[in-house]
């Protein structure tokens, strides 16, 4: 629930060099107030570097970073309206939990008792009520994470920066913390900027996501757009699974783009399904596994269908993944099917028909 839609953070053509290494290559983007924003990308793409330019730990080589309308050029990290949750959590090992959480209040003019109450409230917010007197170095990973959160949020920053805060936790706690972080963000209404290399985590948690490769933002969109309409093969491959089929762009008519797709034949798609393509010629189309359906005996496709042979079956209990080779294709496509009671799982080698819909295709150069 965003409290304000105004721009909170603005990057204007930000470049960053480490010596000769060009780590950020012209980043321009806006992050809205009250938004849960994620920076997603493979290792070394510059996510942490970009996050640290917001925090003020990294000087930029050119361009501008604005926070809440203010130029940050000469504002050091300790004067910025941002706080950070570090990947290692950076819990001060020689202080107690309460001293850690209250660390940022040292310069606060409030009375001792009021500060203690603020610390207790912050601990309660992250589910660590009554942990104040504990030694910080004796906490578990999940607890450290919560202390780091409470410590950063106690100053009521305009922006909370999180650098892979969940990557050190094991799967179960990580999934639990994802939900808690979303709730917390809605509760406090502060802009969260999260760095992650886990696409699933980004999709689950974010209002909007910037996908980064090699110091550039490849696509900035909400999770659904990113998943359904990735603007390049690279983004499509990074987020989830996508099948690619070679095709030819044969023409345009009545506002539609006409394609000749291997294994599927003649197809017409909307221009919105071709975010990055302008000219005709060779290209490829992408299809998510769940947009394809295996047709059983006697079932009719609502739209179009293509014949093929089952080459591989992976059974997951609730889901089954099939690799099906469509006639006229030299590689198989992945299809995910929800398992329904009473419906058999197909065997390898079965001939089958696959239903697909032109509306689910994405065209890539």
């Amino acid at each position: 629930m965003s409290t304000s839609r105004a721009t909170m953070i603005e990057f204007d053509n930000v470049h960053k060099y480490y010596g000769d290494y060009h780590a950020l290559r012209g980043i321009s983007a806006r992050i809205n107030g009250g938004e849960f924003f994620s920076l997603l990308g493979p290792s070394g793409c510059g996510k942490t570097t970009l996050l640290r330019t917001i925090a003020g730990f990294e000087d930029i080589s050119s361009g501008a970073v604005m926070i809440d309308g203010r130029h940050m050029e000469n504002v050091p990290a300790n004067k910025r309206p941002t706080n950070m949750v570090f990947q290692s959590y950076a819990i001060f090992p020689h202080l107690s939990v309460a001293e850690n959480v209250g660390f940022g209040l040292r310069r606060d003019p409030r009375s001792r008792a009021e500060k203690a109450r603020a610390v207790e409230e912050a601990l309660e917010m992250v589910g660590l009520k009554g942990y104040g007197a504990r030694a910080a170095h004796a906490l578990s990973g999940g607890q450290r994470q919560r202390v780091a959160l409470a410590r950063a949020l106690i100053l009521k920053p305009k922006v909370l920066l999180l650098d892979e805060p969940l990557s050190a936790l094991d799967r179960k706690i990580r999934e639990q913390m994802q939900v808690e972080l979303i709730k917390l963000q809605r509760e406090v209404g502060i802009t969260f900027v999260l760095v992650t290399h886990d696409q699933e985590e980004a999709l689950v948690m974010s209002d909007r996501i910037a996908v980064m490769f090699e110091g550039e933002i490849a696509q900035l969109a909400d999770p659904e757009t990113l998943y359904r309409r990735p603007n390049s093969r690279r983004v499509a491959e990074f987020i989830g699974v996508m099948n690619f089929l070679p095709c030819q762009v044969t023409g345009e008519a009545g506002g539609h783009i006409q394609l000749e797709v291997a294994g599927l034949g003649q197809v017409e798609i909307e221009p919105a399904q071709a975010p990055g393509v302008t000219r005709g010629g060779p290209a490829s189309v992408g299809m998510r596994p769940e947009t394809l359906t295996i047709l059983y005996e006697g079932q009719q496709a609502g739209g179009r269908e293509a014949p093929g042979v089952v080459e591989e079956v992976v059974y997951y209990g609730d889901m089954t993944y099939y690799d099906v080779r469509l006639d006229g294709l030299d590689h198989s496509v992945r299809i995910s099917m929800r398992n329904v009671f009473g419906r058999p799982v197909l065997d390898i080698g079965t001939r089958t028909r696959v239903a697909w819909s032109p509306g689910a295709l994405v065209l890539f150069r």
Partner: protein, 268 residues
């Protein structure tokens, strides 16, 4: 039967290493002026004699002054080295750090003679101060090595977190860095103190008319009558060294436990 070679070897090794030191207290309490077996009887007169000796007291005071000053200065310099080496990148860093560490392997006699030449050329008169200069030179690499470990083990994001939470660079150092490297600082002070206290060659060359404990002991070895007292003095020094190193190790271990860093064995 299998002969436990390794165990025998280890035992022989320790025996050769420590047996001579065990002789010190033995003869320090022996009621005879000649250092030889069989032992005669128990006495504390050598310790009493030691306590009354004016020249010895002066040498002790000299040594304490020199060792304390050297330890403080070497540790302060070591902190600069460690911080530069672990936190900053600059051209020629490897070379600079290498040169700071070099006195570890330079023969002390070379260091002493060259220092002597330089000091005499500069017209500086020899005193406890010149010994301190020499000792700082040889203690700094040890201090730097110990503090490098402490500063290196310190997670950089701890300092960034404090800065991020509104502290200044200086208050971050005081509130976070200093307490966390304190065990290293204490170890460094104690090690440097110990090294300076029993250093002979530099003290011998640079002390001028002011003897330190080691140079005093050396000068007394010419008089056979004084030797039992030297034994007593040696006993006290060994006891003090063991005590200091134990304290140093205690602080190092406490630092390891407190910051949750994995123990890599340390310097003892």
């Amino acid at each position: 039967m299998k002969i436990p070679f390794l165990r025998l070897y280890a035992m022989a090794y320790l025996l050769f290493l420590y047996a001579p030191i065990l002789l010190l207290p033995l003869f320090a309490f022996n009621d005879a002026t000649v250092i030889s077996f069989p032992l005669k009887g128990f006495t504390t007169q050598w310790f009493a004699q030691m306590a009354e000796n004016e020249a010895l007291r002066k040498a002790t005071l000299n040594s304490l002054l020199i060792a304390t000053s050297s330890a403080v200065m070497a540790t302060a310099l070591g902190m600069f080295v460690a911080r530069a080496a672990t936190r900053f990148r600059f051209p020629g860093k490897g070379g600079v750090v290498g040169f700071i560490m070099l006195p570890l392997v330079l023969p002390e006699i070379i260091v002493s003679v060259s220092l002597l030449v330089v000091l005499l050329q500069l017209g500086v008169s020899l005193s406890a101060f010149t010994v301190i200069l020499g000792h700082v030179l040889i203690c700094t690499p040890y201090a730097a090595a110990i503090l490098n470990t402490s500063f290196g083990a310190l997670d950089r994001s701890l300092e960034e977190a404090a800065y991020d939470l509104g502290e200044t660079k200086f208050s971050t150092f005081r509130l976070i860095t200093l307490p966390l490297v304190m065990p290293g600082i204490i170890s460094s002070l104690l090690i440097s103190f110990t090294i300076s206290l029993d250093e002979f060659i530099i003290a011998f060359f640079l002390a001028g008319a002011e003897p330190t404990l080691p140079t005093y002991i050396f000068s007394q070895l010419r008089f056979p009558k004084g030797i039992p007292m030297i034994m007593a003095l040696g006993t006290v020094l060994v006891a003090m060294s063991v005590l200091l190193l134990t304290i140093a190790e205690y602080f190092r271990r406490r630092g390891v436990a407190r910051t949750g860093i994995k123990d890599t064995g340390g310097f003892l």
